[in-house]
């Protein structure tokens, strides 16, 4: 676990980047590239979504919300898994950088969850005549938000950084095991009584242009996430390093 376990084998190279010292400048170089390409791609995606794509013959203009809604929903789930992965890595390797990554991912993940929920319910009002229905997918997205909130709350409630990292890592992992269980339980529950009163998957066969727009938006969101997460990790490194730097000065 620690460096002093005394093996003579040379360390694998990627571990070098697991040290905050090497990671910090590397991240610094990556951020501008990611940020700029994210801005460009998102702008282009929106352009396709709002102007190029044809009006849907069933849903009118309202459907254009899909270009934000669907990629946001994808990323809300993807980022949770990523966060749990880093948390687990942190617990196994006892690597501080992993914890920092997990911590940094959470806010972005929660933001995409919120965007998916809000755009979804904005869309739901014209489509289903209600802001909210208790459909399986909607419900599990809501629960995902609660899991993110739990993660934050726990981290905020513990002010010993070290303990906060580890405790919330355990929570993230437990949550990750539960996400699929929750998804299937909710799906099972909803199909018990009602027929498919609402089904999201029965959207009209997607025109190629729509798929293109959504994919571009998704890549844009991905780059945006990377940029923001790296920025947060850098702040975190600075904050913690200023503390550890003091350790031997006193």
């Amino acid at each position: 676990m620690e460096t002093n376990t005394g093996t003579n084998r040379p360390r694998i190279n990627w571990l070098k980047y697991a040290s905050p010292k090497t990671f910090y400048p590397l991240a610094g170089k990556l951020i501008p590239w990611c940020a700029v390409s994210a801005a460009v791609l998102i702008a282009y995606g929106l352009y396709i979504g709002l102007l190029v794509a044809p009006t849907d013959f069933q849903q009118g203009e309202g459907y254009r919300i899909i270009f934000v809604h669907v990629p946001a929903a994808w990323f809300s789930m993807f980022l949770y898994l990523l966060m749990a992965m880093y948390a687990g890595l942190g617990l196994v390797l006892n690597a501080r950088l992993s914890y920092m990554m997990a911590t940094a991912i959470a806010p972005t993940g929660a933001m995409f969850t919120l965007i998916a929920l809000v755009t979804g319910s904005l869309w739901g009002k014209p489509m289903w005549g209600a802001w909210w229905v208790w459909d399986a997918r909607l419900t599990s997205e809501l629960i995902l938000l609660f899991l993110y909130i739990g993660y934050f709350s726990l981290q905020a409630a513990i002010d010993d950084k070290n303990r906060a990292d580890k405790a919330s890592a355990v929570l993230a992992l437990v949550g990750a095991i539960n996400v699929p269980i929750i998804y299937f339980s909710v799906k099972w529950w909803n199909t018990l009584h009602q027929g498919a009163s609402v089904s999201l998957t029965q959207a009209p066969a997607m025109a190629a242009i729509m798929l293109k727009g959504m994919l571009i938006m998704a890549v844009g969101f991905w780059l945006y996430s990377i940029a923001v997460i790296l920025m947060r990790v850098r702040c975190e490194i600075l904050e913690r390093d200023s503390k550890t730097a003091m350790i031997r000065q006193d």
């Binding site: 002093n4 550890t244 031997r248 006193d250």
Partner: protein
């Protein structure tokens, strides 16, 4: 006592302790063999409690490690704990249970069978004759500490770690405890302790370590 015949060794190598971003002790090295009492000294907030908890494996050291008979205590885990008796700031006493019930439980945790007569004797010895069957909630500050300390008389473990064991004890109890520690060390036990009171011990090896000096 069962451990008498054995040779034990508690050692720290390059132990570094950090709490709340402050360095408390740096590259601490010591090695304690049978019959040694290590007496930690230091002003308030210099890291005595932190060091004791590190020795017990409750806190992980920032760097370095603690060894028991040559092996890292975190790897030994239960194999280390079955030799260790730790009494910290908190007495580990359930206020709803009586003194005897509390003792029975404490002993069970380290796998020691409970002998009612012997336990009653020790509590009598410690001046708790009247409180045997009261919930410990009804005991005074010092009486609660005595219940916690009774384990020292009942368990047969070679390493004691004591954090300010004299707190709240009156003169009489303080004496009794000091004699007990001396007897234990003379039989070959190892003790790590801290206290702000003056102590002078007659033991095979008496070492002092001052933190934050």
């Amino acid at each position: 006592m069962g451990f008498l015949a054995k040779n034990h060794m508690l050692a720290a190598t390059d132990l570094v302790g950090v709490r709340g971003g402050r360095l408390l002790f740096d590259k601490l090295n010591f090695s304690l063999s049978n019959g040694t009492v290590l007496y930690l000294q230091g002003a308030n907030g210099t890291g005595k409690t932190t060091l004791l908890r590190t020795i017990c494996g409750l806190s992980k050291p920032y760097e370095g490690n603690v060894n028991w008979c040559g092996e890292d205590i975190h790897e030994l885990a239960e194999d280390y704990y079955k030799h260790l008796l730790y009494i910290g700031h908190l007495p580990g006493i359930k206020e709803d249970l009586t003194a005897l019930e509390n003792l029975q439980f404490s002993l069970a945790l380290s796998g020691t069978p409970f002998d009612l007569t012997q336990a009653t004797e020790v509590l009598h010895l410690l001046g708790l004759a009247k409180g045997l069957n009261l919930p410990t909630r009804m005991l005074s500050q010092g009486q609660k500490r005595r219940v916690a300390l009774a384990r020292l008389w009942l368990q047969d473990l070679p390493l004691w770690v004591l954090d300010e064991p004299f707190t709240a004890l009156d003169a009489n109890a303080t004496d009794m405890l000091k004699q007990k520690i001396e007897a234990f060390a003379n039989e070959g036990g190892i003790v790590v302790m801290t206290t702000h009171q003056e102590v002078a011990m007659h033991v095979p090896k008496f070492e002092q370590l001052r933190l934050g000096a």
